[in-house]
Amino acid sequence: MRPQRRFPPMADPIQTARLAYRLIYLLLAVLVIFLRLLPLDTTPTSWPGPNLLLCLCFAWVLRRPEYVPAPLVALVFLADDILSQRPPGLFAAIALLGSEFLRRREAMSRELTFLIEWLMVAGVMTAVFLAYRLGLAITFVAQSNLSMETLQLVSTVVAYPLVVGLTRVGFGLRKAATGEVDAMGRRL
């Protein structure tokens, strides 16, 4: 990315768009965390909602990876760890690794149909949840019960297409088509 920037002096429109989208991602993440912090229902739930941050991150990484740089991903998940009383750092590290795994397959995934992409994402999400539980087990941290976490994993996987649809409708984020170029004529 960086060595190609040969048009520094003017206000670079691509740069501005990129910054704007990064800001939007950050705001969405803050919104998700904020909504979860609202003390609306303090009784224990029997159906834990999806981990929307994970859906959001994976959906954006597979569409426009340059809008969700790795430091931003790490920051968002670390903040989520700290605010939602999880052991700080572990889930963030695993989610970051998962997003990097998908990021490297972004170009490959352009040719895939959505169903295959969904399967791939579901696989990565399962791996993330398993790795998280494994990490907690290795360090002897008390874990929440398996059935609840499994339910959360399932609802996260189910929520993924919805998040993808919303980002497409709401923010016009699609996969780059083969051979598509940006405003500067560079291939995406």
């Binding site: 990315m1 912090l37 224990p44 009383q85 700080p88 590290a93 170009a107 560079r186």
Partner: protein
């Protein structure tokens, strides 16, 4: 990353990997630090939450209120039935009130006859719920009172009626309350008519089960459960709830506190009961052994010798 779509040498890939690897390393190091020195990191977390969440209060409070209004508005739809029901309930309540008044008078008379001293030290600080835990696996709420209001770890928290949980984690202006339903919550309780002791252990369900119950056959659904004060953490006699029996025949507790809508909570100031350390002095007719033996004392030399020896 060998793939290079622009026909240029890719300098970014390896550097990227190092950066990402570094970040993963830092995050894992933070996790390990938490594992090794959890109190310090938790204090850092409390401080951070203390800084962040009150600054969101301007948004948290209106949205919560608004959601509450929407919920209330939905109940307007059934206002007629509700009205009828309330009238019926009111009628019953009047009867109960009469009974309660009589009982209260009777109780006061009996207490007076027995010279029972009531504990005057149970005062409370009231706080407003700012946020909940943010995770479906943790049951806790954040209050807007903290260290500056004198809140300390371990104090009991109630709503108007029953026990809600205990303080765990205090920031400058916020404090976290671990609810009785959290899977880390363990509270010693007494079951009222039979006097059985048990531990109320939260398990992330709305009706937490009882553990270490001695004689289960003496306990019935409907019995009152109050805190027992064992272990000196909680004051004794706070209402917790009623016994119920789950489908698995295990005794569980319907909590009296209204967990649906936790809004204003009372933090009870509990003062440590002074521990009894020694087994008591020797009781002997010797005049050096303590203040009680007043009768036959030579008044002339006693104050000069015994008082310093006592202290």
């Amino acid at each position: 990353m060998a793939r290079d779509r622009n026909g240029q040498t890719d300098y970014v890939g390896p550097i990227r990997r190092i950066v990402v690897g570094g970040m993963v390393f830092v995050l894992l190091a933070l996790f390990l630090l938490w594992r090794i020195d959890s109190p310090r990191v938790e204090r850092f977390r409390a401080a951070l939450v203390d800084r962040l969440v009150p600054s969101m209060e301007w948004a948290l409070v209106p949205v919560t209120k608004f959601a509450g209004m929407v919920e209330d508005f939905q109940s307007y739809a059934k206002i007629y039935e509700q009205n009828q029901e309330l009238r019926r309930e009111l009628q019953q309540m009047k009867a109960w009130k009469e009974a309660a008044l009589q009982l209260e008078q009777k109780n006061a008379r009996l207490l007076d006859l027995n010279h029972v001293p009531l504990d005057p030290k149970l005062t409370h600080v009231t706080g407003v719920v700012l946020a909940d835990s943010g995770s479906p696996f943790r049951q806790s709420v954040l209050l807007n009172v903290g260290e500056r209001d004198g809140i300390r770890d371990g104090w009991a928290v109630m709503d108007g009626l029953g026990l809600v949980g205990r303080i765990s984690g205090v920031g400058q202006s916020t404090a976290r309350v671990i609810l009785l339903t959290d899977s880390n919550s363990r509270i010693p309780v007494t079951i009222q008519p039979s006097g059985q002791r048990a531990i109320l252990s939260g398990d992330n369900s709305a009706i937490p089960p009882l553990d270490f119950l001695e004689a289960a056959d003496q306990v019935r659904p409907g019995d009152r459960v109050v805190s027992s004060g064992d272990g000196g953490v909680f004051p004794a006699g706070l209402l917790v709830g009623q016994i119920t029996q789950g489908p698995d025949r295990r005794f569980r507790v319907w909590l009296s506190a209204d967990y649906e809508r936790l809004e204003f909570l009372r933090v009870l100031r509990s003062h440590e009961t002074p521990p009894v350390t020694d087994s008591g002095g020797l009781i002997a007719p010797d005049d050096r052994l303590g203040p009680p033996p007043p009768p036959a004392e030579p008044a002339a030399d006693a104050p000069a010798t015994t008082v310093p020896a006592d202290g």
